[in-house]
Structures are given as structure tokens and as C-alpha cells.
């Protein structure tokens, strides 16, 4: 299993590179490969490249492609953590209330000024998570069963308020709807920078807890009896992933299925060991989101929200997984 894992990881890294390069070529404006290459060359030797092509390649496509890779990684690692800690195969990055918190923040943002949307989305996402955590703390430890219910209840509440606000100012409906369905349009290098830092923090943190997470798969009681401080593990890992997910959502809206499906695909190939999964799942997520976004921004009708594509890709995978479980 181990060597299989290493081979697969290597393959995934290669795939990510290939995907990135291919996506650079795809877009609403057709730019032939020789032109792209020439442009990159001229940029490197600072010889006055064609600004149209450079701007499109370096400022429109590249940041968006890299952002897709990074956000895919964040969603996947968050999904992995929730699935393990809640011992729930349907765990996704938004289980703790992130999505509805962010939606509420966005709805408020669209009412006041669209520029405030990312900040408000992040703030309210963390607020929702914080409330869920507070509700489910008992005896200094977070009880997973209660956290799920807390997350759901908080989600209902925040969603209700958000829906009401959206209903009030239907004029902004388009903007809000697009945001809710998720989209990487308008990706800039500064967003890439922040998300890159987030990934640099999140993945090593989860890797640091790989042994604890493996043991926690057996359940809280056994984990504790083996010496694992389950309270600390849950708090730290869930907090970190909620934070980075909130950040991601504040930039690109709510993109579903990537966080849910990537860990499962990873497990099918390399098993449950978190040492492997913490690397493999993010790579799978990166590729899934990158492919989805490339499709989303290049349809003949123009751009459609990427959340729609991820749903199209994710649902068959989910259904397949459910079928497999039934036969078990």
C-alpha cells in the first residue's frame, strides 16, 4: 500500500502540472500556443511582449488557475478533517456552519457595498463557526455529535437571515446568486497570495496530527484510551480548517463537492492513513477544481458558476460511493 501511495502521489503532482499548463491555453479568447510561448519568452527576457496576450495570460488566467489549485487543496483537506473527526463519510468543509455564515456576510455586503463582501463573508463565517463550537463544548471538550447539530442549527438561522436580506434587495440578486453558487472570476494575485499562505499553514498542521487522526478513526473512547488528547486534536484541526475554509469562501463563494469527494477518491487509492491522505486528497481536490473551473469559464454561453460544474462532476462520484456502501 505504501509504495502504491508514493507512485500515486507522484502521478498526481505531474497531473497537476499538466493540468495547469493545459488550462493556460484554454479560455474565451483563443490564443495559439506558439503565441503564448513567444509571449512568455519575451516577458522573461523583458523584451516588450504584446500586452494583450501578457495581460490575459499573466493577470487573468494564471492567477485564476493557481487559485483553483489552492482552493481545491483547502476544500479537500477541510473535508478530510471533518470526515475523520465526525466519523461521517458525508462530511464536507462547511459542516461547522461556514457556508451559511459566509452567505449571510455576503448578503449584508451586497446590501451595503459589494467591496465589503469578502471581509463580511469571512467575519460571519467565523462567527457561525464560533457559535457552533461554543454550543458544543461540554466539559472542556467538543462533542462531535453536538457540533454537527450545532452547525446545522446555526446554518439554518444564518441562512434564514441571509435569504431574507437577499429577498429584500432583489436588485442585487444576480451578484448574490453568482456568489452563492461559487465562482473564481476576478481572481487576482493578491488573493492567490493569501490563499497560498493559508495552504502553507493548513496542510502541515493536519500532517502534524496524522497519527492522532488515524487513531481517532476508531472512535473517541479508544483514542482516549490510547492516550490521544481528542479535545485538543478536534479543536485545533477543526479551527484551522474552518479558518482557511472561511477565507476561501470569502473569496470564491461556496463551492460544493470538492471537499466531500476528494478524500473519498483518495481513500479508495491509498487507504485511510492520514499521512498519505493529507497530501493526496488536496492534490485530487486541486485537479478536480481546476478542471471544473476551466470548463466553467470556457463554455460557449460565457461563464457559468463553477459550483454547477463541481456538482455535475461530484454527484456521480457520490452516488457511486453510496452504491458501494450498500453492498458492504
Amino acid at each position: 500500500m505504501k509504495s502504491r501511495g508514493y507512485i500515486f502521489t507522484f502521478f498526481l503532482v505531474l497531473l497537476t502540472f499538466a493540468n495547469t499548463v493545459i488550462s493556460l491555453y484554454i479560455g474565451p479568447v483563443h490564443i495559439p500556443i506558439p503565441v503564448i510561448l513567444e509571449n512568455i519568452y519575451r516577458t522573461l527576457i523583458r523584451a516588450d511582449p504584446n500586452w494583450t496576450v501578457s495581460t490575459i495570460i499573466f493577470y487573468v488566467r494564471m492567477p485564476r488557475i493557481i487559485l483553483a489549485v489552492l482552493i481545491g487543496m483547502i476544500l479537500a483537506i477541510s473535508g478530510l478533517v471533518t470526515q475523520t473527526i465526525f466519523r461521517n463519510p458525508l462530511g464536507d468543509p462547511y459542516l461547522t456552519g461556514v457556508s451559511s455564515g459566509a452567505a449571510l456576510g455576503a448578503a449584508i455586503g451586497f446590501l451595503i457595498s459589494p467591496f465589503l463582501v469578502p471581509f463580511l463573508a469571512f467575519f460571519f463565517a467565523m462567527l457561525a463557526v464560533g457559535i457552533s463550537f461554543l454550543i458544543s463544548r461540554s466539559g472542556g471538550e467538543i462533542r462531535a455529535e453536538i457540533l454537527i447539530l450545532a452547525g446545522i442549527s446555526v446554518s439554518f438561522l444564518f441562512s434564514a437571515v441571509a435569504s431574507y436580506l437577499i429577498y429584500l434587495k432583489e436588485y442585487n440578486l444576480r451578484g448574490v446568486l453568482f456568489w452563492l453558487l461559487g465562482g473564481l472570476y476576478g481572481a487576482t494575485w493578491s488573493e492567490v497570495y493569501y490563499i497560498f499562505i493559508a495552504v502553507l499553514i493548513a496542510i502541515p498542521v493536519i500532517l502534524a496530527f496524522r497519527k492522532e487522526l488515524d487513531i481517532m478513526l476508531m472512535g473517541d473512547e479508544q483514542a482516549k484510551s490510547l492516550g490521544v488528547d481528542t479535545g485538543k486534536v478536534k479543536t485545533v484541526t477543526l479551527l484551522v480548517t474552518s479558518l482557511v475554509t472561511s477565507l476561501a469562501v470569502s473569496f470564491v463563494g461556496i463551492i460544493g463537492f470538492i471537499g466531500l469527494v476528494s478524500p473519498h477518491i483518495g481513500r479508495k487509492i491509498v487507504g485511510e492513513s492520514h499521512a498519505m491522505l493529507a497530501i493526496v486528497a488536496p492534490l485530487i481536490g486541486a485537479n478536480l477544481l481546476l478542471v471544473s473551473d476551466t470548463i466553467a469559464r470556457s463554455t460557449p454561453q460565457g461563464e457559468i458558476p463553477v459550483g454547477i460544474i463541481t456538482a455535475f462532476i461530484g454527484s456521480p462520484v457520490l452516488i457511486y460511493l453510496l452504491f458501494r456502501r450498500r453492498r458492504m
Binding site: M1, M218, L226, G227, V228, G271
Partner: protein, 243 residues
């Protein structure tokens, strides 16, 4: 030594364990028996610090409330009833989880893991995935994991339940071979009593109703009282008689 005094555990208003006193010396074997709901498993969980309790639980002189998870795990290991393990971890990876509380240097630990696996007789299945093991094999793997913790005491919850008689014998033999460890073995069957030379503590409705290590008529009578079933002594081996 594990010292329990006045242990009381309540579950939502009901008393599951009622002022129980219990001690386990180094190397001592205690067989904890009683009908369902008598509080046997709850006592184990209290010792492990998994449930809130009233009274005192001390391991080697220290109250467990003052100890961290790791410290507790270093002193007492838990062998739970076999459970659903749909995981692809190998037996070796699974047993290695026991090393979490013990060792920082994972490399030198391999020997410990292999020895424990050999002791429970699973050497051939070292690389097999745990989701492909039979009930008996899984129980042995869990025991090996507990052995690897290198704790002075081991708590076992129904280690022979759901096993075929061959596996039951293997498991009880392993327990017998643990000369240096104190063991509390919870069971509602009578096999452990026959195979292991230890003290029987009988529980009923959260209270200790009998304590003794001689297989004599008094023990048989108490067993019958508690379980409501006749107990026979056939060649020194106790049996529940349903005829």
C-alpha cells in the same frame, strides 16, 4: 496497584455503579462478572477516565483526574469489545497505534510491535488489512495493541464474546501468559473463570455482591443468584446449566 474506593457513576439520574471498592495488585487477575446493566463496563470506563465519577480512582498512588491522557494510557491499557473496523490499515499499523502513548522514537519500536503480534499468534497476518480479519483475529490484534502500550494494567471488556471456542481458548491462554500485568477482565460468560486463576468479583445492579477466589459452592450459589441460572461444577469447570 489500582485502588478504587467509593466509586459511584450516574447515568442521567440512574446509578450505574454504586459505591464500589476494588483493588488490583501487580500481576493480579480479576474477573468481573455480572448480568447486563450491572455496571461492569462502566467501572472499566471510570478507571480509564472516560466517564465522570464520584469517589476515588488511583493508579500507582495517583488520582487519575490529575493525570493527562498519555499518562493514563501509560499505566492502563484498554481492550474493548471487538468493533466495526472497515479500515485498510494492516495489522502491523493497527497494533502500532498502541505506541502512541509510549514512545517518541518510532523506529526502534518495530521490535516491540512484532513481538506483540507474535505473542498473540498473528505473525502470519502481519500485513493483512484489519477489515479482512475474523472476529478472533481482530480480538487478538486489539490485545496485541494493548500489550504494546506496555502498561502495568490491562482492562478487557468481554474479550471472549462472539468468538468460537478455539479462539476463546487462544485468548484466555494469552491472558494467562500475562504474568507481569494486572488484568481486570469483564465477562458475562463463565469461560474466563475456568481458565484463569484469579479473583471473581460479582456485580449486580452496580453493587459488589461477592468477592472470592475459591471455586467453591458459595461462589456457585452467588452466581446462580445473580444470573438466575443453575451452575454446575463438572470436573472443576463451572458451567451454566440451562437444561
Amino acid at each position: 496497584m489500582i485502588e478504587i474506593s467509593g466509586l459511584t457513576v450516574r447515568y442521567g439520574g440512574k446509578i450505574a455503579v454504586d459505591h464500589v471498592d476494588l483493588t488490583v495488585q501487580d500481576g493480579e487477575k480479576i474477573i468481573l462478572m455480572g448480568p447486563n446493566g450491572s455496571g461492569k463496563t462502566t467501572i472499566l470506563k471510570a478507571i480509564l477516565g472516560l466517564v465522570p465519577y464520584e469517589g476515588h480512582v488511583k493508579i500507582d498512588g495517583e488520582e487519575i483526574v490529575k493525570l493527562s491522557r498519555r499518562e493514563i494510557a501509560r499505566r492502563v491499557a484498554y481492550v474493548p469489545q471487538i468493533f466495526y473496523t472497515p479500515y485498510t490499515f494492516s495489522v502491523r499499523e493497527f497494533v502500532s497505534m498502541g505506541l502512541y502513548s509510549v514512545v517518541r522514537d518510532w523506529l526502534s519500536a518495530d521490535g516491540v510491535v512484532d513481538r506483540a503480534i507474535m505473542r498473540v499468534g498473528l505473525s502470519d497476518l502481519r500485513e493483512k488489512s484489519v477489515n479482512t480479519l475474523s472476529g478472533g483475529e481482530l480480538q487478538k490484534a486489539v490485545i496485541a495493541r494493548a500489550l504494546v502500550q506496555n502498561s502495568r494494567y490491562i482492562l478487557m471488556d468481554e474479550p471472549t464474546a462472539h468468538l468460537d471456542i478455539g479462539a476463546v481458548k487462544d485468548v484466555l491462554d494469552i491472558v494467562r501468559s500475562m504474568e507481569d500485568r494486572g488484568v481486570i477482565l469483564v465477562s458475562h460468560e463463565v469461560h474466563p473463570l475456568n481458565r484463569i486463576d484469579g479473583t471473581l468479583i460479582l456485580l449486580n445492579r452496580g453493587r459488589v455482591v461477592y468477592r472470592g477466589n475459591k471455586r467453591d459452592p458459595e461462589m456457585e450459589e452467588k452466581l446462580r443468584d445473580v444470573f438466575g441460572v443453575r451452575v454446575n461444577d463438572a470436573n472443576g469447570a463451572l458451567q451454566f446449566d440451562l437444561s
